[in-house]
Symmetry: D3
Subunit: 310 residues, 6 copies
């Protein structure tokens, strides 16, 4: 556990890609619940970005980085205006509360083991991929920038998607992307030392068991959210937002304005001359309103310059 | 609500069948999570019985009737011996506690509404079936002998699969089969007057909403059970067993023996001459053991005669 | 407990009225949280009916009787259309599940005992009414047609608003109106024998204690509802609706239509010729639509005649 | 399950007694937690009645019968006056809510299975009694008038003290005494048909397992009560009181008065001339007070006569 | 969020005072539940200190500072001796666990929105204060040394009293006093960076909504506590004590003794020569007892000197 | 609370031992539930180590130190292979999450107070030990290396085994061993400053009360574990394992291998050349398998050398 993660990031990525695409095509037909690349494309047709080889929308790396500065509230503001009220999940144990999680959703679904069904699935898998499907099948398909999102239906005992070894691997493969599991993890002591964000319902010493893998990169449910593969995942101290790709740009642009608004609001509060209602939500006095608009414009310009100079 | 159910049972059945098969083929391709007739057959390959036109195993009516006399414990005994430990769900409100529920599982799945996904699904549905998918789409496909099994992910507000009108319809269409919903129902007063078994998590006055139908007759999860379409559903005061078709005959035969065993055990207890451990689990005294074996044989013969004379 | 309730109903009522009005004026000024008759009138200004002497809206007896036939769903339909989404409370133990509760809300609030505050309140009460305030102060102000609605903040031990003696009294004083307590009751065996509807969170053998009475006929909170004195209370197997007086007439008229709609819907279902979606929510076929409209008109006429002939 | 219980009651009793005493002495030394007859006598030294052969206080049959008419509230009144505030347990599923449970506590304790400890215990048991200890060891020691009180630490799966066969046996052996288990039962359908009171936390189809029997007739904890063998058990719709033998007579005598008080109170309420506070808790008017005292005396006399004439 | 709080503290205070008093008088008459300055004085008549302009007891700043060193246990000891057993609330998320919260209670109450009532209230508010009442109305009345105590009845979604902007404002206006909300907050990431103590039930991204402000500086209930405006609030890692002003001095003096007692006890334990029972609760050996008394006297003298020299 | 713990460690130990042995013999006979030294030896007969004077198995100090490096998962692997599936408890608040707890279980049991029983017990105690039994009786028997394990049946109010003074004492007496209580503690602020591991269910300001001490060093239940005195306690961030002494050596040896396995696994992952399934659980490629075996051997040698050189 003394190893550091940064040195070996780059080498993994290229290797992963080809392997994963092949795997995806093959495993899709061997899963109990299949969701083909074409279906994925159809159901995420509003995606304005490129796609990953497996068909998932590819929110650009630059936007993912910008998302590291936003908060749940800022996502909420845009999504509720669009009528998307079921994109937020909370109630998790948060591994590193001060650390934001951002990335592209890579979804995995498990269901309670049922041997007749699992045998049929594994027979199909043997035929398609030459080996049985299990949690590492999915983990080995992860890409840099992914967040592993797992439906283990809240299972504690035997619902441990990873222990510290595989957590270490996920961290590497995703370049620190992150993990969300509606289920549990093992070896919290070991996991705590690895600097990747993670959200889980509970912790248990048992290994994963009494379940069967039923889908990779299919639509899954986490709390009250229907998660689609490729959603932008944004996790803070409170919970997790799953942002449909078509709203990512607007969410981020709006967040810039909100940051400036908060900056200005606190600055005015700090002057000690105003009641909160004179300044917040928006200033009532036209002169203050004008002051704010000028501040907003100036700061937006600065931010845009700063960004383009990178 | 003063109407009686029995008089109009027969007329519905024939009508339903053809319509439903067509619907199934068409809706399957329009669901977010599709599960084709062939997949259903593949994953329930151990089914020893005929199949319904939609591909589901058809546990024979005669066996369904026999299942009306068994208990959870009797199912448990066979299934655990087979290594099937995830077939039981409980924690429901039971509408008519004294009334057994038996039938073939007809599964439906909902997920939290997400407009981008739902619009894509509804567009596909319009193209395939000429109209949008919603709870009545599934309800209108029900067959006599079916139990409607619905995954509404425990939702209370807006998770009400039916009110008393549709509950009435389900009762008619299934010939009193039953309803299980990991979600809620509306209009408990009205529903209570209808003599169909039902299991639900809660009750709410709101109609179903903020969800989308994502699958009909696909594998779903109810509590800790992976339910397959066509499973034999057995519900008593305690909870619900989902019996894979390949085990139905054995479960029922074993239950016959258990009934006789219990009959004899209580008879001996009633004599007041024995400690419980002398008689139960099985008699230790060889003479009592013989007495029991003879009793068992005699009663089994009687039962078989009675059954064949029907 | 062998006594019957009906014989002595009439005598109580007249007596109560004068006494109560005096009590109300006097206790109002002695409560920790006062709410004067004028305030009550101001905050329920939309009440279209007469008022009780204590200022509460008086939903007419005839409408209360009609409300005995409606369901939560029917109330929901009207109130949500008005934007009143916080009028429903559930999660109670229901004493007599098959028995509807209807009546006018008489509210009482308790808070955790705090001697310095209670002493001040009791001193004021002594001065105003000559005695201290406690649960019977409120109970003795109940009128025929009232439902006693009590905020005991979910308290179990010591949160028992009544035992069987006072429950008997409430039944008499309200003419079988009913009881709702966000708290507990004592002596469930005794209470079960009395034929008055009641909703409570729990049951405990301790008498009420460690609390102080802080308000009579003030606005209180029950679950997610702000209850106003004089609201029409409608309780069924599921939960309780608090209907603001201004909506009572519309709720009842709409319920008439819904009853007829359900009657017709089930009749058509019973014919066994239709899919549910052809009939319910509303018939798609214009001919069926017309049939329904005629049926609705005919039955409404019948109902109105029947009502006016009473 | 068609057998009736009453015909064979008498025969069992005599048989049980001798056998049980021997068993008790022998098993006591073989239990993980032993509690000798002498210890039982020492710790229940205030018992004013005879003792059963196993050392438990024997509350007389006549008093047990009288206890069938009392309520939790009446027990509470006496016990809290004595400073015994930890004698009440609730939160159980009640099998037959309208049926009182009364009898002498026969306690059994289980703990989570631990093979090294259980092997040592079973070796001791083999030596002492010639066979291993399990749930039927305790059940076979039950006496007429006993209530079986079992600590299974709230266990659901595998915490099922009995199914319908052994429940039938317990009913016979105790002459309808009853069962309390801080754990679960099996076969609720079957059990529901047997007319013995029972209180349990949950129901499960699994048989008892993964536990070890650690004590028979030792002090155990049920909820917030330390239950001593021989306590008078009184169960109503609400919960269960465990009455130390030394308080039984006083509880019953006080209950007589309370019954009369309630009778009179309701009679006065039924007259419709009084506010509740004029009559209850006790009448304020000296003339009413006198009326009540006379009524009390008269009715007590009647009761005593009625009792002595039996 | 880069702004520091200390530089602008002083300027806000003076400004607030006058404005707030006017507001208080005006809003009191416009609240659903009013509690006039005179009522506040009457119900806190035992207050030994001056009062704030709004009528609240003003526990002196010096005592508030001393309270920063006490613990829940020390408050408990005095209050239970007075018979005040309902002054403690816990079960909150604590924002900065190592940081004590002390200050004067400023109470706010919300209830579920009900438009008929809210419209009446807002009309009254418009007339009285010229604008509608909402959460910022209360926040803008806060004084240095206040702790904002809010009853939002445990509401999560829409129960967010503040986000990071208003939290920043509250910190400034109260000079770091603190926040308690039986409800939620927004923007935990932002709030975590601000060094003010806060206690809340949950966190949610939605803004406050579906509620109405019903009282400012009225008696409210937080958990099992009736909180009076002006109570001394003491919050540690465990929970919150609300100390009636009349007990503040005694609590603090007693805490001095307890600190010295704990200091001495641990010193003796550290010597390694004593069993715990020889030293704690109080030393049994008269010589140790004397040693302790001398230590107590000496240390008290030191503390008093130190305090008076400030 | 400014005192440091290390300086006075040694002096306490010797003193404790003699005193404790005497106490143990005497208190055993005065406890409600007694468990003699001989019984303790019989039920832990598989203990391969020496015993403490009170009869408990004495896992050697060196092994305890080694246990400081293991995790729940490593204990799980050995115990489940032995069929010991009930040795793990979780769901506690963990005082110092990053700090491992290891030591020998010293068990204490409380039950709800019942004065008749407690008086009998105290009379026996007075006779045997000259004073009454209470929490400090047990605390004063603690030895260096012990972990105090207390069954307070989840009690919060009045279930506080220690406050900061006694916590300080326990830390000293056990040399930082630790505390587990299925109950609560007082004075969390004070306790947080003391560097001893602790696991508790809740925190409350009340002192321990309304309970009676019923056993010291008897078998007790913590969650789903039967804890035997002398078990090796291993607590990490997740929960607590109670390891029967006979498995300690194997657990530790296996943990050495697991540590090396994890080290190697992460090293290989860090190389970025492998899919997780190629390396973990065990390498599929024979060459990698060999590499691992050699690494394992080398590292084991190093560890053994390092250990023997200490």
């Amino acid at each position: 556990m003394k190893l550091t993660r940064k040195s070996f990031r780059s080498s993994v990525a290229g290797f992963c890609c080809t392997w994963t695409v092949l795997m995806f095509a093959q495993t899709a037909s061997a899963q109990l619940l299949s969701f083909s690349k074409q279906e994925l494309i159809d159901y995420t047709a509003q995606n304005p970005f490129e796609r990953l080889p497996d068909g998932r929308p590819k929110v650009p790396d630059a936007l993912i980085e910008r998302a590291r500065d936003i908060s749940s509230e800022e996502v909420w503001a845009v999504l509720q205006a669009k009528g998307f009220n079921n994109q937020y999940a909370d109630g998790f144990q948060v591994l590193h509360p001060g650390k934001m999680m951002v990335g592209r959703a890579f979804t995995v679904q498990f269901m309670p083991l049922r041997e007749d069904v699992d045998n049929a699935a594994q027979a199909k898998a043997k035929q398609a991929v030459g080996k049985r499907l299990f949690n590492q099948t999915a983990i080995d398909m992860l890409q840099p920038g992914d967040v592993l999102v797992v439906d283990l239906f809240g299972k504690k005992v035997g619902g441990t998607i990873v222990g510290d070894n595989l957590f270490f691997y996920v961290n590497q493969a995703t370049h620190g992307g992150g993990l969300i599991v509606d289920g549990s993890v093992r070896d919290l002591n070991g996991i705590s030392e690895i600097d990747m964000p993670a959200y889980f319902r509970s912790v248990d010493p048992t290994p994963i068991g009494n379940v069967m893998l039923t889908g990779i990169n299919i639509p899954i449910r986490i709390g009250n959210v229907t998660v689609m593969p490729g959603d932008l995942v944004v996790g803070d101290r409170e919970g997790i937002y799953f942002v449909p790709p078509q709203f990512v740009q607007e969410v981020l642009d709006k967040a810039d304005e909100t940051h400036i608004h908060d900056e200005w609001t606190k600055k005015k509060f700090a002057e000690g001359k105003y009641k909160s209602a004179e300044i917040y939500g928006s200033p009532s006095d036209p002169k203050l309103q004008q002051e704010y608009q000028e501040y907003l414009k100036k700061r937006l310009d600065e931010i845009h310059k700063q960004r383009s100079s990178k």
